[in-house]
């Protein structure tokens, strides 16, 4: 059994003039829970659909369980559970018929898991799918995806449209899956609280480019916040390698920087602030700062220690 479950090499998709996914190299290891984070339209869904062979890549390729994603065999597909963003289910089927239908494509099917989730969410198995609420349909799709106990779970924004009870159930269900060392989850989400609880790896995608791929711990330890207090703001800030985000608060400038080292400290000291504090950014702050900034290419932060890419300097207007 290979330790790599999903791997992409230069995975790219172009729609007309728009590069939706730009040369993504992503590795998902067996047993990990990887959160794919990015703003709407950043390319998460396109990347996921390429992994599953639903969209052909324009360039590059992806493998899932060692098989090229354009040639996934029924045997491989049966080992992968996919929950699509649209939470698709045939509207004319009853809930129990949807289960029977899904069961046909998965040799391993645990009816007790299906019922466990459906009962927990209070869904009636005799209800027509078409008359379920958006959140109920999401819950049904989650049950349909989890019941075959797939080795690899690919969940595209599974929390979309969920009410608080269903959202809690989703987190619990994902945590239950992580109890099995050989099961892997790749999920996209906007809910950073849930990501922090569940994920051990994080991939941040911005405008089609993979900016971060790291374990959550490494990501947190590598992104720091420098808080500089001034009597008078400097006219310019020096170019700081790894600068992710600049924020002005009253008489302070807050710099979020990846891979701070002695050079960073020296540069920041040269700005001439009255007081300099350095703290860890914290997971959510770091994610948001990565997604707030515009422009810039290449991954600033890689688990394998790729040096920080250059970023444009932020000119400072005097205070």
């Amino acid at each position: 059994m290979s330790d790599t479950v999903i791997q992409t090499h230069g995975l790219t998709r172009v729609y007309g003039q728009k590069v939706a996914v730009n040369q993504i190299n992503l590795t998902v290891l067996r047993g990990s829970v990887t959160a794919l984070i990015g703003r709407n339209g950043s390319g998460k869904t396109t990347a996921i659909r390429m992994l599953l062979g639903l969209v052909p890549p324009t360039r590059g390729h992806a493998t899932v369980l060692g098989c090229d994603s354009r040639q996934l065999t029924p045997e491989i597909r049966a080992r992968v559970g996919y929950l699509s963003e649209s939470h698709f289910a045939y509207h004319w089927m009853k809930v129990r018929e949807a289960a029977a239908f899904q069961k046909g494509t998965f040799p391993k099917w645990k009816q007790n898991i299906f019922h466990g989730i459906v009962d927990h969410l209070g869904l009636n198995t005799e209800t027509k799918v078409g008359s379920l609420s958006r959140g109920e349909r999401a819950g049904l799709c989650l049950a349909l995806t989890l019941a075959p106990e797939p080795e690899v779970l690919v969940l595209d924004d599974p929390a979309l449209g969920l009410d608080p009870v269903a959202r809690r159930a989703l987190v619990e269900a994902m945590l239950a899956v992580t109890q099995h060392r050989d099961r892997t989850i790749l999920f996209s989400s906007h809910l950073l609280d849930d990501v922090e609880r569940v994920a051990d790896h994080v991939a941040i995608i911005d405008q089609g480019v993979l900016r971060v791929e790291a374990s959550v711990d490494e990501f947190c330890s590598r992104v720091s916040v420098w808080r500089l207090t001034f009597d008078r703001f400097p006219d310019r800030l020096p170019e700081i390698p790894g600068l992710i985000h600049t924020r002005f608060i009253d008489n302070q400038i807050q710099l979020t920087v990846a891979n701070s080292d002695d050079g960073t400290a020296a540069l920041i000291a040269s700005i001439g602030a009255n007081r300099i504090e350095q703290t860890e950014a914290g997971f959510q702050q770091a994610v948001i700062d990565y997604l707030t900034v515009r422009g810039g290419t290449g991954s600033l932060l890689k688990a394998v220690g790729v040096p920080a890419a250059e970023r444009e300097t932020v000119a400072v207007v005097g205070g």
Binding site: L175, Q179, E196, R197, V198, A199, D200, V216, Q285
Partner: protein, 133 residues
């Protein structure tokens, strides 16, 4: 008081570190005594609704630092105090903690007397006997 861990997401303190800090604090304040058993990794992960690897990481760090001991197949227990750090290392760690405390207190405009008084008051809340090295 019963030992309990409460975590918050969105903090700049990672979840595993919150668990480590709270276990250390519970032992220092006497909420957990030597020999007390901690909930299993699985149970605590379920209760806190976090990935069990996060709890395992916290427990591993506490075991490594000699705060907990893991008894095979039984779980984690509060360890008998044996110092895994040298005297110099203990001093260094104490100094680092005091530096943070004093600079924070002085920046908040507390006087030396007020700070000493606050520390003395805090110490009153902890059991007094010196731990055996």
């Amino acid at each position: 008081m019963v030992f309990d861990v409460v975590i918050s997401t969105g903090s700049n303190v990672p979840i595993y570190r919150q668990i480590v800090d709270q276990v250390r604090h519970a032992i220092a304040s006497g909420d957990l005594a030597v020999g007390d058993q901690l909930p299993s990794v699985r149970v605590l992960a379920e209760r806190l609704l976090v990935n069990h690897n996060t709890v395992a990481k916290a427990f591993n760090e506490l075991v490594r630092d000699g705060v907990l001991e893991s008894r095979h197949g039984l779980g984690a227990f509060v360890a008998k105090r044996r110092n895994v750090f040298s005297t110099a290392e203990r001093r260094r760690r104490l100094d680092a903690a005091i530096t943070t405390l004093t600079s924070e207190a002085l920046l908040l405009d507390f006087s030396h007397e007020e700070l000493l008084e606050a520390v003395a008051k805090k110490l009153n809340g902890f059991p007094k006997e010196k731990r055996k090295a």
